[in-house]
């Protein structure tokens, strides 16, 4: 068998190249905007992929280095990188994120995390504080399951039912649906759908749901030291306002902004309002 180690002088280069390739492709990282601008990393939440940011990210790409990516198991990520143990806790996802940020050598990053990625963001900021300059949490919840005086909004049986409903809604349906959407009025959308659309491996989706809805990151909140924005929707069934206020109260110096947007995905349902709120926060901090 041949020694595949490159000659001594070149030993570093290919390995680094290989690593960069693997981390970047693993998370299907996409970059837009001026290279020298402040980096802004958008992390999608449970249920979809980086296309969730479609209506918001381009707006920031004007004056930011915008990075979007898919968590392992979602969208265009490398499924083979899914490790049930590593990704059995939010820490594994945070480690992935930190690896991407380090690989791209980003600093003073504005990290925008939706839903569960707010908590992944908290863990990433705590793991690599030197990389992050601000944290935006969209619809955050540090713990979904009620616990004594703390109201997360869900009982254990609710979560069990959610996991059941995931089983009843195998993720393939989104892929099967994609051709239907290629209506005559929406050619652009059709192309995008053909590539990837909230594709999630069903096994990973279920695991990710468990990790998302069964984690408890309340204790991590007070350790956050970067300027933080909590974006709270109206009538968010997943992260109700008391939960958002709880997060705001626990993250030192955080800013709480309540959006008129309803539901859990303001970046989809009210992208302008969402982008404006983030810009306002970045301007002030």
């Amino acid at each position: 068998m041949r020694d595949r180690t490159p000659p001594d002088g070149d030993r570093d280069a290919p390995v680094r190249y290989g690593r960069r390739v693997s981390v970047i492709t693993r998370n299907c990282v996409r970059v837009r905007g001026p290279e020298s601008a402040r980096p802004m990393v958008f992390a999608h939440g449970f249920g979809c992929d980086q296309t969730m940011w479609r209506a918001v990210a381009p707006d920031f790409a004007v004056d930011h280095r915008v990075v979007t990516f898919d968590h392992v198991g979602a969208g265009g990520s490398d499924l083979s990188a899914y490790d049930p143990e590593r990704h059995g806790s939010l820490r594994g996802y945070a480690d992935d994120l930190v690896e991407v940020v380090r690989e791209m050598d980003l600093t003073d990053v504005v990290l925008v995390g939706h839903s569960v990625s707010s908590m992944i963001g908290v863990l990433a900021v705590l793991a690599a504080p030197e990389r992050f300059g601000a944290l935006v949490m969209v619809g955050p919840s540090p713990r979904y399951v009620d616990d004594g005086d703390y109201t997360g909004g869900f009982s254990r049986s609710d979560v069990a039912a959610l996991l059941d409903s995931l089983d009843s809604n195998p993720a393939q349906w989104s892929a099967a649906l994609a051709p239907l959407v290629a209506g005559p009025g929406n050619p652009e959308v059709a192309v995008e759908l053909a590539e990837s659309f909230c594709r999630t491996d069903p096994r990973v989706a279920r695991d990710f749901a468990r990790v998302t809805f069964l984690s408890d990151n309340r204790a991590d909140l007070p350790a956050v030291r970067v300027p933080t924005l909590v974006l709270q929707c109206t009538d968010d069934a997943i992260a109700p306002e008391p939960v958002g206020r709880y997060v705001h109260s626990r993250v030192p110096g955080s800013v709480f902004t309540r959006l008129a947007a309803t539901g859990h995905c303001p970046h989809l349902s009210a992208p302008e309002e969402t982008a404006a709120a983030i810009r306002a926060f970045l301007r002030d901090n």
Binding site: D158, A161, L177, L214, A237, L268
Partner: protein, 887 residues
């Protein structure tokens, strides 16, 4: 081809049907066979048809204004927000989303939902239209499928768990590894919040009826220390951890609380609901221990358990069956691992016993041997070894050893300070008193308190962290010799029955070995004590002379011999010298030698010359009943002049070293002592200043490999070489050592006695006119020179005693000695020496009365001995010459 009428009928429906088909669009909407909802983009319902309201029991007014997720169950709500709404926004449509609508009465209506987003020309959402189909049967079927699939998945997971356990157990090499595998896998398989494996400790006292006691968890995972401690306490306390029967789930309830309140509290405190006990059993159903799992919602997992607190009081049957299987697998793996380990340990034990036997066969002293045995034991059999030996004085200082160098100080303190008392509760004392092995398993606090004798004793013993202690008495023929105690600490683990058997085997070997060794040692000590008493004390100083003596026993056999040397200052200033050799070098020879020396000294009482001495010894030999023959050389030295008279009873001639030459003196030997008597010619000469005389025994010059002449030549050569510088032998001790070194190797077949005497050059006594005829030269007493006065006094005393000897003893040939005269008691008053002695005493400032008492007593004793000897000689004469009486 003609159109059949039926075909025409289909194309032209009856009028009634045509009317129905031209139905009211509003009715079509309201009473459509599906629910129909119109939502504004944020999800609020703006229109709903009657069908939906009928299905759900909700009034249209109650539905309008709500967001669609508000109509859904929690799970569906999450699905709507995380999947459905984003997809609608991104894709414009979703199909067959399975959602659960909650009816007015709270019941759930399983539905399938199709929805499309209506957008304006700019792509902005205007409205969402959703149709809702009841899917109760389909969803029921789906759920059944799902349940079956889950069941299959779980079953597969269990099979996978079992498969992994089997393969991991195959790789396990120790009970700890077996326990670790089973604990980890079992815990994960049933999502227990913690698990531990307790192994029972087998032992000789564990009969079929007595349950083996699990002493400590062999492995645990996820159990908080407090909970672990309570479980361990319950296990030690005899909780039903190990018993026949299947998997048992014990909920934290009144039953558990009644039996083990502390454990119940600990479980509750840790948020646990139940304890599951799984028997770990061997193939033959013997119970080896128990796998204990704790069920509850609080564990060390990063994720919140889905189970509601307090709901894990039971275990699904399939899980229980899996655990039962794991328990059996663990048991069989344990048996296999133990068998393997036992085989390995048995080999170690056999090797150990063999080494121990070799050690004992090496024949070192008892103390040395048991010291080595203790070291051997701690490297092979135990962590700690204490060997106490029993003597008349109780348990003597024990020999101790510890495998851990860091703990040697502890065990040595134990030896030095804390000897168990004979009446104590210490297991080693119990073992010795009861003549049986005592095996303490699980040395706990209570046990420590029972057998330790002081707080420090307890402290030191505790620091040794003993788990097991075996005390085996050393007994031979019902006679206790001591006790050997072997300890195991936490690192080694507990002892097994085979260990105990090995210890007993070792004790048996030791008892037999020690018995032999102790007997030998007794003999050895006895003979050495005897020898020490038989050997003469250090020779006295002889002014003007340097004197050295050596005695070396033979290197084999008893460390006693029949050789002797003796230097006796005689009254009058002369010195008697003797070297002798009783045949043999054993205890008998030594005893004979001792007697011979005593008789020699006794005979010196009346200052016989060397030849006379030999005569008398010849004469007294049969009377003394000495069992051995002997050779001897007797000399009489006048230190002042160097005048020397020597007689030999069959002994090798002395060596004279002078002027760089070494010559054997021509002392013609008479007969051996013990042989028929014969006269011994007396050699006389003078030892010149600087000359050296060497008396020796044949052990020095005779060996099995060289004949006597060669030995003598070598002796002369070595001695000559030592004095070759012409300075003479100034240090007789050095000559002794040189001779022994050169002639008597370390492997001597015979004893060696050596006596070397050098007349010093330039000694005042040796000065011309000073030593040669000092008897006639009598400086005036009180001449001012104190030393001279002492010399003068000594001369006077000598003269006096010499004069006295003529009165009280017999001189010359014993055969010519008159018994009648010898029987005459010595008249103490007619003893001129007394006056002289008194005079001397006054010169020296002594009390005249004390001097008189001294001298009289001495003479009395000597006279008595002489009389006894005379009696003996008389008898001897009769025996030797029976005819004389008759004639």
């Amino acid at each position: 081809m003609t159109d059949p009428p039926a075909h025409r009928d289909r194309l032209e429906p009856p009028e009634e049907l045509t009317r129905l088909l031209e139905e009211d669009p509003a009715d079509l909407y309201e009473n459509a066979p599906c629910g129909y909802l119109s939502l504004v983009p944020d999800g609020r319902v703006v229109k709903v048809n009657r069908t939906f309201c009928d299905w759900t029991g909700l009034a249209p007014g109650a539905v309008r204004g709500l967001r669609l997720p508000d109509l859904l169950s929690a799970g569906s709500r999450v699905f709507y927000e995380t999947h459905l709404a984003p997809l609608l926004r991104l894709q414009g449509a979703v199909r067959e989303a399975a959602l659960d609508v909650v009816r007015a009465d709270g019941s759930v209506l399983p539905c399938l939902v199709n929805a499309i987003e209506v957008r304006d020309e700019g792509g902005r959402p205007l409205l969402v239209r959703a149709t809702v189909f009841e899917a109760t049967s389909r969803r029921r079927y789906e759920r059944a499928l799902l349940a079956a699939q889950r069941s299959a998945t779980e079953s597969e997971a269990r099979a996978r768990t079992l498969q992994r356990v089997v393969s991991e157990l195959a790789a396990a090499g120790s009970p700890e590894q077996v326990a670790e595998v089973v604990v980890r896998r079992a815990r994960a398989a049933v999502e227990a919040s913690g698990a531990g494996l307790w192994l029972a400790v087998p032992g000789p006292e564990a009969t079929a009826r007595q349950r083996p006691v699990p002493v400590a968890p062999t492995a645990s995972d996820g159990l908080a220390p407090a909970l672990l401690a309570e479980l361990a306490a319950a296990a030690r306390g005899g909780a039903d951890l190990v018993r026949t029967g299947g998997v048992r789930t014990v909920p934290v309830g009144p039953g558990l609380r009644a039996a083990w309140p502390a454990l119940a509290d600990a479980l509750l405190g840790a948020g646990q609901d139940a304890v599951v006990v799984v028997p770990v059993s061997a193939a033959d159903d013997r119970h080896l221990g128990a796998l204990v799992l704790v069920l509850g919602v609080v564990g060390d997992s990063e994720l919140i358990s889905l189970a509601e607190p307090g709901t894990r009081g039971s275990l699904p049957q399939a899980d229980a069956e899996l655990l039962a299987t794991l328990g059996r697998q663990a048991g069989q793996a344990l048996e296999r691992v133990r068998l393997y380990q036992e085989t390995a340990r048995q080999a170690t034990r056999s090797a150990f016993l063999l080494d121990a036997a070799r050690l004992m066969a090496a024949g070192h002293g008892v103390t040395e041997t048991i010291g080595e045995l203790a070291e051997l034991a701690v490297s092979r059999l135990a962590d700690m070894c204490v060997i106490d030996l029993l003597t008349e004085g109780g348990l003597v200082e024990p020999v101790v050893a510890h495998a851990d160098p860091a703990r040697r100080a502890l065990i040595e303190e134990l030896r030095d300070v804390h000897l168990p008392r004979r009446d104590g509760a210490h297991p080693s004392v119990r073992a010795m008193v009861e003549h049986r092995t005592v095996w303490l398993r699980g040395v706990d606090e209570a046990e420590l308190a029972r057998f330790t004798t002081s707080p420090r004793h307890e402290e030191v013993t505790r620091a040794l962290e003993l788990t097991d202690l075996i005390c085996v008495p050393l007994v031979l023929e019902n006679r206790p010799l001591g006790v050997i105690s072997l300890g195991a600490d936490a690192r080694r683990g507990t002892f097994t029955e085979a260990d105990v058997e090995t210890a007993e085997q070792l004790a048996l070997q030791m008892s037999q070995g020690m018995d032999v060794a102790q007997r030998y040692e007794l003999e050895w000590r006895t003979s050495h004590t005897l020898q020490a008493s038989l050997l003469p004390p250090e020779p006295p100083e002889v002014p003007g002379y340097a004197l050295a003596v050596r005695y070396l026993p033979a290197s084999r056999g008893a460390d006693v011999g029949g050789d002797f040397h003796d230097v006796v200052p005689l009254p009058g200033g002369d010195v008697a010298l003797a070297v002798g050799d009783v045949v043999g070098h054993d205890v008998t020879a030594a005893a004979t030698m001792g007697q011979l020396r005593s008789v020699h000294r006794a005979l010196l009482v009346d200052l016989p010359g060397p030849a006379a001495l030999v005569d008398r010894l010849h004469g007294s030999w049969p009377l003394l009943g000495l069992p051995r023959m002997a050779t001897a050389l007797f000399a009489r030295l006048d230190p002042a002049t160097g005048d020397l008279r020597i007689a030999s009873a069959g002994h090798l001639p002395p060596l004279l070293v002078a002027d760089g030459r070494a010559e054997l003196l021509d002392v013609r030997p008479g007969r051996l002592l013990g042989a028929p008597p014969g006269p011994a010619p007396e050699w006389s000469g003078r030892l010149a200043p600087g000359a050296t005389l060497v008396f020796y025994t044949d052990g020095l010059v005779e060996s099995r490999s060289a004949d006597l002449d060669a030995g003598l030549d070598r002796l002369r050569a070595v001695a000559a070489a030592e004095s070759a510088d012409g300075e003479g032998i100034a240090n007789p001790g050095a000559l002794c050592d040189r001779l022994l070194d050169a002639l008597a190797g370390p492997r001597r077949a015979d004893d060696v006695a050596l006596l070397v005497l050098t007349r010093l050059v330039g000694d005042p006594l040796a000065a011309p006119g000073g030593g040669a005829d000092h008897r006639s030269h009598r400086p005036v007493a009180g001449a001012g020179d104190e030393e001279a006065a002492v010399d003068q006094a000594r001369s006077d005393l000598t003269d006096a005693l010499e004069g006295a000897s003529g009165d009280v003893s017999v001189s010359g040939d014993a055969m010519r000695w008159s018994p009648e005269r010898a029987e005459t008691p010595a008249p103490p008053v007619a003893f001129p020496a007394l006056d002289v002695a008194a005079g001397l005493g006054s010169v020296l400032g002594l009390d005249p009365a004390a001097v008189r008492r001294l001298v009289t007593g001495a003479v009395d004793r000597l006279t008595t001995v002489a009389a006894d000897v005379a009696d003996g000689l008389l008898l001897l004469a009769r025996d030797a010459f029976p005819g004389d009486d008759d004639r």
